[in-house]
């Protein structure tokens, strides 16, 4: 078991983003949450047409502008300047959340504090009484997107697994997560709990189970 751990090399955040990007099919309408998932936008393959939607009212979002092309009236959900691809569209918040809540997005990619084996998601608040609570559009995406992918490191900075039987943090949505991309492995959320799709190099399933502290079905 110790040899498995010494050879193990977790995926970097960029490698996680590349893995997600590779799994997004041509033509998909995708919302990318703020934070770590923003890396996915930079990893999308150029040979596929994928429509990125942003909650503040645009679809067909393009890459970051050059330093001389910044327009502060054209921003993303993280309030950073972006561009619009040819064919892109702008709309108001009513239309944007009609898209998000009404089942018109194929995939939402969100960060998380915890994901439970029944697909429950906790990603907007911890139990820290000093933290300012903020939820944004996460609860709408959780109920509204056809698939919710979570991108997160599997362990907290203190080594506690974020894959849990039941979330201890306040919930964002019930049973909404379909897949989890972590630095250790990619897992599907199934009727039987977490199920392995792919392991990071040098890791075996038993070591993963031990580190995650949760049951994981073999692929």
């Amino acid at each position: 078991m110790s040899s498995a751990a010494t050879d193990f090399k977790p995926w970097t955040r960029i490698e996680m983003a590349q893995r997600i990007a590779a799994d997004i099919p041509e033509g998909a309408v995708v919302n990318i949450g703020i934070g770590m998932p923003e890396l996915v936008a930079d990893c999308l393959p150029e040979d596929k047409e994928i429509l990125l939607q942003s909650e503040n009212g645009l679809i067909g979002m393009g890459p970051k502008p050059g330093p001389n092309a910044i327009d502060w009236d054209l921003i993303n959900a993280g309030k950073q300047p972006v561009t619009l691809l040819p064919g892109g569209a702008i709309f108001d918040h009513v239309t944007s959340f009609t898209m998000m809540r009404g089942g018109h997005l194929d995939i939402a990619i969100l960060g998380a504090f915890q994901v439970a084996e029944n697909g429950d998601l906790a990603n907007w608040a911890t139990n820290d009484p000093n933290a300012i609570p903020a939820v944004g559009g996460a609860m709408d995406l959780a109920v509204g997107a056809r698939q919710v992918f979570v991108m997160m490191e599997m362990l907290t900075k203190t080594g506690v697994s974020k894959l849990v039987q039941r979330c201890s943090y306040p919930l964002t949505g019930l049973g909404c997560v379909s897949r989890v991309y972590t630095d250790h492995a990619v897992l599907d959320v199934t009727e039987a709990g977490f199920s392995l799709r792919q392991l990071a190099p040098g890791l075996d399933l038993d070591t993963l189970r031990q580190r995650a502290g949760i049951a994981i079905q073999a692929p």
């Binding site: 054209l74 918040h93 903020a134 959780a142 509204g144």
Partner: protein, 225 residues
């Protein structure tokens, strides 16, 4: 003759009294009606309830209104930002109340308020602390939470161009909450970059028809943050 234009921002806000509920447009800085907020700060009504997506960024706009001590309660979806230190301090010291609303619920509550809807069932937030104490219902096998409309005394919004009937067009993602907020207030006040002659806005492209707008004031270009 209908003329909703005003000569300056000060004359747009003279009737805003203590205790008013005010919708403030914008998503971060995009669409934030900075000049109307500055006029509101100068008028200085107290105990305001402000409905806006965020709780101010940096030291301008909504952050300046909060810093001036005029706000009793914020209704918003995402008050936590790296540069929202003004709100953070007021909230932590108990000087401002927060009603946290998921963004889609904020939008739909405003839409319902503007559209004459009494309440609505939404799946957003079911089973989360947001739904605590609220009526729920299963409809076609899915769980929903009952939410009520937001109606306000005033809306302060920013658009790109307007005319004397109050018709508005917006600029890029600065549109965001403007159109829905314009519908949900008793008095809607729009600041625009410029006021154009009646008939010069393409009727197919008008986003907010003037029936939703009461006052329009030109700020000039370069007003973006």
């Amino acid at each position: 003759m209908i003329d909703k234009t005003r000569a300056d921002t000060a004359s747009c806000v003279t009737d805003i009294a203590d205790g008013a509920t005010i919708l403030v447009g914008g998503f971060g800085g995009a669409g934030m009606p900075h000049e109307l907020i500055d006029a509101l700060i100068a008028k200085a009504p107290r105990d305001l309830t402000i409905v806006s997506n965020n709780a101010g960024n940096g030291t301008k706009g909504l952050a300046a209104l909060l810093a001036a001590g005029l706000v009793r309660k914020m209704v918003c979806s995402f008050p936590r930002q790296a540069d929202s230190f003004v709100f953070d301090e007021l909230y932590r010291s108990g000087k401002v109340e927060l009603e946290l609303v998921p963004q889609g619920n904020l939008v739909e509550r405003l839409r319902a308020g503007g559209a004459g809807i009494g309440a609505f069932f939404t799946p957003t937030g079911f089973g989360t602390p947001i739904a605590a104490g609220k009526e729920t219902r299963e409809i076609d096998g899915r769980q929903y939470v009952l939410e009520y409309p937001i109606r306000a005394d005033y809306a302060l919004i920013k658009a790109h161009q307007g005319d004397r009937w109050g018709n508005l067009v917006y600029r890029k993602t600065a549109r965001n909450f403007g159109p829905v907020m314009a519908t949900a207030a008793r008095i809607t006040i729009a600041q625009v970059e410029d006021i154009v002659p009646l008939g010069s806005l393409d009727p197919e492209a008008i986003v907010t028809p003037g029936a939703f707008v009461d006052r329009v004031v030109a700020i000039g270009t370069g007003a973006a943050q």
